[in-house]
């Protein structure tokens, strides 16, 4: 971009000391975590010198990389990652969305009811929700139903926040309970299973990763280069100023929450397709982890700051941690503790790097 026209005099400005992009810190944190796991693999006696990301026997894939592990690292965070993309916008706009986890549960139940197949191994579908008319519908039907449901929930969230002025925490906490209620009420707690092949394809294999990265790219562009993105940052930075500058803050907030809920609903589609079932408990704690991914990625909970790239890296941190724990065979109790410690550590590291960067310059 233009280089010699960014200032209009005044103080001396030393271009070589440009601010260090936030995302790099997270990237370093990620690398450090990987290195720690690799080191543990070498040091722990019972690991017998195994590596996390490499596979020197090349027994399975013929490459030196442990492809299976690299795949699962990103696969297992793709779905929460999709939610985190929406949550990122919500937080940048100064809000918060607690309803995304339960929304996943409710949307999955509803979507799957429209994606069922008639015959399972030649027998009638034992989990049928509706009558014959709802069997083997084209895959677009459940997708549309899901997105519409998400848009509807987002519309309510957004309207409550924009027009009644209640705190986003409360509006989405209320919606949290409502969505859990919907999920359980839909089939009175019974799971819904056996989707059509078309539907099953959506979340099969590495498809979740594909969707995640595609959407991440899309929303990276939207947040960084469009008016929608700029207004999202402006509202989160100073809502009163945004209003005084002539931004239609209310309408914009409704949009932000609708998009976030539609992303959560899309995550529900992919999730139920991946698991070939929908269950009322699906999506538990997803809202917390989606928020945590965003925050680890540098999104500020007071609004106005953050990026999609950061959130994607934040998601990767979780992926690496989860796979790393299984890889070093950590006990489940210690996993929880270590996960807590690493989340804190990653953000502390980020803070510390930011500070020392500004002190050094």
């Amino acid at each position: 971009m233009s280089n010699h026209s960014d200032g209009i005099g005044g103080l001396k400005y030393d271009k070589s000391k440009k601010a260090w992009p936030n995302e790099l810190n997270i990237f370093f944190a990620l690398i450090i975590i990987v290195l720690v796991f690799e080191a543990l693999g070498q040091l722990l006696p019972y690991m017998k010198g195994q590596s996390m990301l490499f596979d020197f026997n090349t027994k399975r894939d013929g490459t030196i990389l442990n492809i299976a592990r690299i795949k699962i690292i990103i696969l297992q965070v793709s779905i929460i990652g999709i939610i985190a993309l929406g949550v990122t916008q919500v937080i940048i706009s100064g809000g918060i969305d607690l309803s995304s986890g339960p929304l996943v549960g409710a949307a999955a139940m509803i979507v799957m009811s429209f994606a069922q197949t008639e015959l399972v191994n030649g027998n009638p579908n034992p989990k049928a929700v509706f009558g014959a008319w709802a069997f083997d519908l084209p895959v677009l039907v459940p997708i549309l139903v899901g997105l519409l449901f998400g848009a509807f929930i987002g519309l309510i969230n957004g309207s409550l926040i924009a027009f009644t002025g209640i705190p986003p925490f409360i509006a989405t906490l209320g919606m949290f309970l409502i969505c859990r209620g919907i999920a359980q009420w839909w089939t009175r707690g019974q799971p819904v299973s056996f989707p059509t092949d078309q539907f099953a394809w959506l979340g099969s294999g590495m498809m979740p990763v594909f969707w995640f990265l595609l959407l991440a790219l899309l929303f990276h562009v939207v947040l960084k280069y469009t008016v929608y993105g700029k207004h999202t940052y402006a509202i989160g930075s100073n809502e009163a100023a945004a209003r005084m500058s002539g931004i239609n803050v209310k309408r914009h907030k409704v949009m932000v929450y609708m998009i976030a809920s539609m992303l959560a609903a899309f995550a529900a589609i992919i999730l139920s397709s991946k698991n070939l079932t929908a269950q009322t408990g699906m999506g538990q704690f997803y809202e917390l982890f989606a928020i945590a991914m965003a925050v680890i990625g540098g999104v500020s909970l007071t609004g106005g700051r953050g990026s999609i790239i950061g959130t994607v890296l934040g998601a990767m941190v979780f992926g690496v941690i989860q796979s790393g724990f299984t890889y070093i065979k950590l006990d489940a109790f210690y996993q929880l503790m270590a996960m807590g410690g690493i989340i804190i550590g990653a953000v502390v590291l980020d803070q510390w790097r930011q500070r020392s960067a500004s002190a050094r310059s």
């Binding site: 019972y46 699962i72 297992q76 549960g105 079932t277 269950q279 009322t280």
Partner: protein, 294 residues
């Protein structure tokens, strides 16, 4: 040999006993490593855990399914990687289509709720209440299969001619928890309605209800209370005459049995693909037999 284990929930009392059965048994065998993971009641997480096990190159996988209707994707994942898989405790929905290197060691969930409510029904008849008895149902977390199934079992029993004198005043969820059951029962008591039985989806909730009833001065001899699991706390309550019915499931045995099955599969040994472990009814009459089992 390394076996990856995914347990539906770590903070479930019954599953904890089963888990201990696995680890204790594995520790007694030479060269068997267990890697136990907590699926935190999340089907998706469980599937990811299986994939992580595959990436780590385990020799076999044991799954205590969060949701028995979500087992198809797990079977497929393990089959594709060629890793043997054993389902434990909960019968998978695809039990009849399992590939050769998969098996299950489980109980039929329908038994537990049925045994429990039928015994309550018999006790009520014995107490001379066949002319009509009212009661409450305490349900577990509604997102949980066992809760849904055990509640349905109660309805089925009441649907039988022999037990249709029982009517349900109200059914609510106390989410498996003693505390919530205590509060819920107190709320029910505050309506002042008379009742004859309380059927809970697990022992913890039954104990919570008992604590609430005792606190408001109800004589436990007048009320039939049933739970499921036969936990230590429940057996003690039964000895004290508070709890009337519970159902024992050999958690420890299921745990160790699943480890044996997994080892057999990974070594290519012959094995029964389906191992059913029956539930057993526990009443004050036979409580002594179970005291040191779970």
């Amino acid at each position: 040999e390394t076996i990856g284990v995914s347990i539906a929930r770590f903070d479930d009392n019954f599953l904890t006993v089963m888990r201990n059965g696995m680890t204790d048994h594995a520790a007694s065998l030479d060269g068997v490593d267990l890697q136990v993971e907590d699926a935190q009641d999340d089907v998706a997480k469980q599937l990811d855990q299986i994939n992580n096990f595959v990436a780590s190159g385990v020799d076999a996988i044991i799954v205590n399914a969060v949701d028995t209707s979500a087992t198809q994707a797990m079977t497929a994942a393990a089959e594709a990687a060629g890793v043997p898989l054993v389902y434990v405790n909960r019968e998978p929905i695809n039990v009849n289509e399992l590939p050769d290197n998969q098996a299950f060691v489980a109980s039929n969930e329908i038994e537990s709720g049925t045994l429990e409510s039928f015994q309550i029904c018999r006790n009520l008849r014995a107490a001379g209440k066949a002319g009509g008895a009212k009661g409450y149902i305490l349900m577990g977390q509604l997102s949980n299969q066992a809760a849904v199934q055990r509640t349905k079992d109660i309805d089925d029993v009441i649907g039988m001619d022999m037990c249709n004198f029982m009517t349900i005043i109200d059914r609510q969820t106390a989410e498996w928890s003693r505390d919530k059951a205590q509060d819920l029962m107190t709320n029910w008591l505050s309506s002042g309605e008379d009742f004859d039985f309380v059927i809970a989806n697990n022992d913890e909730m039954a104990i919570g209800a008992i604590q609430a009833m005792k606190a408001s001065g109800i004589d436990m001899a007048d009320v039939e209370v049933g739970g499921v699991d036969a936990t230590q706390d429940a057996l003690v309550a039964m000895q004290a005459g508070d709890l009337d019915v519970t159902v024992f499931q050999d958690a420890f045995g299921q745990g160790s049995g699943s480890v044996d099955a997994a080892l057999a599969l990974s070594r290519g040994e012959e094995l029964d693909q389906k191992v059913y472990i029956p539930f057993k009814l526990v009443t004050p009459g036979n409580v002594a037999d179970f005291l040191n089992k779970n």
